[in-house]
Amino acid sequence: MANQLEPAMWSGMLAIIKRDIVIAFRQRGDMVNPLFFFIMVIALFPLGMGPEPGTLQKIAPGVIWIAALLSTLLSVDSLFRQDFDDGALELTLMSPQPLFVLAFGKVLAHWLVTALPLICVAPVLGVMMFMDVNTIKVTLYSLLLGTPVLSMISAIGAALTVGLHKGGVLVAVIALPLYIPVLIFGTSAVEAAAMGHPFAGQLAYLAAFLILAFTFAPFAIATGLRISVNG
């Protein structure tokens, strides 16, 4: 029995990932809006703080990271909402596969369609913020390691609030304090790279957070979903 269930677990997760990606490509707005939000927020900073290269270079790591964080937060509201409204979430809960595996798949798919495009345009924005090539490279590494953690954390908030029809700001209040370690190590990796210092340590911390989040967050998300759906 056990060796029959095991492949079904992975195929269940893969099916969820595939389904969510297909849905995302059919409703491109949900996928593209966080990306445009990310670009616009970063473009606002030169307008607000003046176009002087020195200043921009100095604030660039923080700006890029905070913009990434905010756009993750904005996009996460749609993570479980649609499934909750049309009843697909209840079916997911009743499926024979463990819920945390399926929840993990959902968050992964969400990261692929909302955060990955954002990481892809980050180099362009880095150039607009006058970062050098090496710093941009480290920005990419740190975003690659850090944004999945952000997705996992905000998914916990989304799972806990999906039953309420006023999620948005509430998720932000819940999730933002938990983002702080990622923000600190993400920006400091980029800052260290910009000043020519070694940055491997900070990236290692981000990788550790990633492992922690991948290991524990799915359980919290699953519990949250059960609470939200069963009342």
């Binding site: 916990i156 309420l164 819940i174 702080i180 370690p181 009342g231």
Partner: protein
């Protein structure tokens, strides 16, 4: 001993028993609060010797340190209550956890305000982005998140369970947040009271310990009081509550 504790724990799970027992405990706790806090604060604020470098401005320590200790302890207690809620579905734990959040948040706020008042003469500014101040601020944010979630859900039981998940996640994150903020910036002095040796004068130390004890009793009084109100509100349909409030 263990059996007796276990029995007490199970008994405390009953709202009626909790209400009756805490009703008997409350006067004693209030007395302990007054006995520890009033002499401690009067002695600390007026008679204890001034500090060598900071003069009299250090006296706010007698409020600042107890508040900080309760702020952290309260969050951990909330997370433990959260585990009890999720694992054993105990109704009393739901009520305690719900009442803890605003009290803990208030102590965190007191800690931040007194710290900022202390910072002005010592560091020369009201606020510095130092590791401890920042992690205290984050703790306040965590409390606010818990309260926001709890008040957003109408059904009391699912509110309690959702809050339990959030406070456990927060408690797991708290050391990580504290560590990363520490790593990010350090200016605050390290802790002066350790289990084995202490860097402060015994006269100040005993005053401080008395204040800490008194603040903890105050915390217990506040918590028990608001939990008792919560018990009455949640159990308003049961007979014993109707009898207690004289509505029958």
């Amino acid at each position: 001993m263990f059996q007796a504790l276990k029995r007490l724990y199970h008994k405390l799970g009953s709202p009626k028993y909790f209400y009756e027992m805490t009703g008997k405990m409350l006067p004693w706790l209030i007395a302990a609060t007054v006995l520890l806090l009033v002499p401690g604060l009067i002695y600390g604020l007026a008679f204890a010797p001034p500090e060598r470098y900071q003069g009299d401005s250090y006296r706010i320590i007698y409020i600042h340190v107890p508040a900080a200790s309760i702020a952290m302890g309260g969050y951990i207690m909330m997370a433990v209550a959260g585990v009890v809620v999720l694992v054993w579905r105990m109704k009393m734990a739901e009520m305690v956890a719900r009442c803890l959040a605003p009290i803990g948040a208030s102590f965190t706020f007191i800690c931040l305000v007194t710290g900022s008042i202390w910072g002005k003469p010592t560091w020369g500014t009201w606020w510095v982005w130092d590791a401890r101040l920042t992690s205290m601020l984050v703790l306040l944010f965590l409390y606010i998140g818990v309260m926001a979630l709890n008040s957003a859900i109408n059904n009391a039981q699912s509110a309690a369970r959702a809050t339990a998940v959030l406070s456990i996640v927060g408690a797991v994150n708290l050391p990580i947040i504290k560590y990363s903020v520490n790593w990010w910036n350090t200016l605050h002095q390290p802790a002066s009271i350790k289990m084995t040796s202490s860097a402060i004068d015994p006269e100040m130390l005993f005053t401080l310990l008395s204040c800490i004890g008194g603040f903890y009793c105050l915390f217990a009084v506040l918590l028990i009081n608001s939990t008792r109100c919560e018990v009455l509100q949640r159990e308003q349909r049961s007979n014993w509550v109707k009898k207690t409030v004289g509505a029958v």
